[in-house]
Symmetry: C2
Subunit: 400 residues, 2 copies
């Protein structure tokens, strides 16, 4: 029988650097090893009880489709949220509910670029942008940012060099996963000016909007939306804000009517996002401000523990992250993927080891990030301290 | 300010014929009109109580990510299901959990065809295939089937005429949404032979597998999978079987390792399907056989009520559907979209009207289906009888 070939585009979908070592982790767990997960941004913080209560009180039966645009009660809740944070121009018609922030990214890439077109991104960047670029047949053009400047943007002229006829958009993740960088008003202004000058879409992924530390000022793309209504697209999600990663809820916000109409048609094709998840999340209107203040305090504390701990390890280098709950860390190893694998297969302290994401997968330029890892500080401070200690001892023992 | 253009591919995403009249329905509802929904396959049948109980008993907090491949307890339940229906060769590694059957369709189109490639489909076909073809830049090549043969397949030679170098797969929906056709073993054999002869993938969407009436024999693609492991892809979903449309759970089943590995990488990009939905649905292992027997009996009764009622209306023509819960019906109108719109805007009986899906959107060949509608018989028999009566009176009054 002749072999039937899959598409070449399927073969080039990259494996997630966050999940690619999963099989080694599984094997380690099978052998009874405890793994401290610094590889994935899946918070241990509790989902608000009032959301869990929606499940406990659930009576609606059958579990029917929701609406393609979004479940009405959830759209209302989202409108409430954006109004509360000061953006009263956002109406329900400007919101498309998506199945996770991931779907919002994918829909946006499809909407702004033809196959073969380019979107500018600042590396290191959220690795799943690669998957969605591949799925939508577009090319991400990376502009490198560096550890020594805290991964802030290069001068305007450096960015302009990468803009050509195929460039359709600039995407930024603010605060940044994986670097923890919070972009300044000057940086956001510069990107908005470039998008105006070269007629590009400006896409801002603000999933970590509330995770900004040390009272740094924060500049959302929403500040530019009314004056540049056609060009601005906000990608958002509740996963991190309310510890709802498993609820697969995101949103795409824009004042561009063609995009709203188009992504709704894509949305109709996949019928709806999950009903239960949406109804559960719509309780965000009743979550007290204390909830997030506590969450914020906890993450700032974790950030401090991680930073103070790591910078004392010989050969380890990082800048203090400004936001989100990630950081890119330089390690004294040649190949961080080998090191991360070795941690899972060959190393443990008191039967415990650490899982991290090799950083090369967060770069678009081949060869970069080889001696870096991305760390998500989503563990309590005791476990974080333990993880730092394990990493410290591992680096002494490891030979590459 | 210059206008920033969205991609041309966004503009050509078709509106769902199932949902495109939604705004008229919304307006009618606002005016207090009751709408009998025959337009969408969103069953009124109850979800098994044992699944709702999972929500009521929920304690897991936080709602974290599930695994990209699928939540382990859900994968176990799916394996249990396929083994129970006789396909013991299916292991967890052959199952990819998807966010709705829709994601399984989209992943499959991406996996088997390059941009510009063709997939053969029998029209009228499930309209959302159009969305996923557009999203994945592939072309659906329709082969027309006809009312008079109950929408069964044309001879092999007719299908062969449409196969060329760009053809990568044949997709069938069995039992068919929108026609209700259950394909015979001879038809499935013929498609398998064609796929063997021309080295094509054979994709079977079997979401309605259990909805086969009058004890007709049913031939699943699973019967061919072991002998043609590289070529066969099953698309499946729990939405209809357990009235879980709003739970967004589907599966892609294949023995082709490249496809399994590739769709898992796509799956990693979107992180996971919903945790709560998967845990809820994994209770399928404890749903008694009585549950589905009742569901089946109810749908067969509805099918009979619909068929007997409609065939008595002058000028209305349909074949008795063999499976699923849809049928394509010829109406004595010139343009069924105008008629369906008119039903929502200008017609009511006792303040009640009927919503149906214009059938043109279920055809790939322009001009076909203009005087047809798709009806989903997902209402109880009293409402169905009422809907038939309304339709009968509307056809008397309507002038096009």
């Amino acid at each position: 029988m002749s072999k039937t070939n899959v598409s070449t585009r399927l073969l080039v979908i990259p494996a997630s650097p966050i999940r690619k070592l999963a099989s080694y982790a599984k094997a380690a767990k099978k052998n009874g090893v405890r793994i401290l997960h610094l590889n994935i941004g899946d918070p241990d913080i509790k989902t608000p009880e009032i959301m869990i209560k929606v499940l406990n009180d659930w009576t609606q039966n059958p579990i029917g489709y929701s609406q393609s645009h979004g479940e009405p009660v959830f759209l209302e809740a989202l409108k409430f949220y954006y109004h509360k944070i000061g953006y009263k121009f956002i109406g329900k018609k400007n919101i498309q509910v998506t199945t996770g922030g991931s779907e919002a990214i994918s829909m946006t890439f499809f909407a702004v670029a033809e196959p073969g077109d380019q979107i500018i991104v600042f590396e290191p960047f959220y690795a799943n942008y690669n998957s969605y670029a591949a799925v939508n047949n577009i090319r991400l053009v990376p502009i490198t940012t560096e550890e020594k400047t805290g991964f802030h943007l290069p001068p305007k002229s450096e960015i302009e060099k990468k803009i050509n006829k195929k460039t359709k958009a600039i995407i930024i993740c603010n605060p940044s996963n994986p670097t923890g960088t919070v972009y300044t008003k000057q940086e956001m202004d510069m990107l908005a000016e470039l998008c105006e000058k070269y007629n590009l879409f400006f896409i801002s992924d603000e999933v970590y909007r509330e995770f900004v530390y040390d009272s740094l000022p924060y500049t959302s793309i929403l500040n530019y939306m009314e004056s540049m209504p056609d060009k601005m697209i906000l990608l958002d999600s509740l996963s991190k804000r309310y510890s709802l990663c498993g609820a697969r809820l995101g949103m795409l916000i824009t004042l561009n009517k063609e995009i709203s109409a188009g992504v709704l048609r894509i949305g109709q094709g996949r019928l709806s996002s999950g009903l239960v998840d949406q109804v559960m999340a719509s309780k965000l209107t009743e979550v007290s401000d204390d909830y997030f203040q506590e969450v914020h305090k906890e993450y700032q504390k974790r950030r401090d523990v991680l930073y103070e701990g790591l910078k004392e390890i010989p050969g380890v280098y990082l800048k203090k992250p400004e936001g989100a709950f990630y950081t890119i860390v330089k390690l004294p190893v040649k190949d961080s993927e080998n090191f991360c694998k070795w941690l899972l297969t060959d190393f443990k302290v008191d039967n415990t080891t650490v899982m991290m994401a090799p950083a090369a997968g967060f770069y678009g330029t081949p060869g970069l990030g080889k001696n870096e890892v991305r760390i998500a500080y989503v563990l309590n401070t005791d476990d974080l301290k333990r993880a730092i200690e394990i990493l410290k001892r591992a680096l002494v023992e490891y030979k590459d």
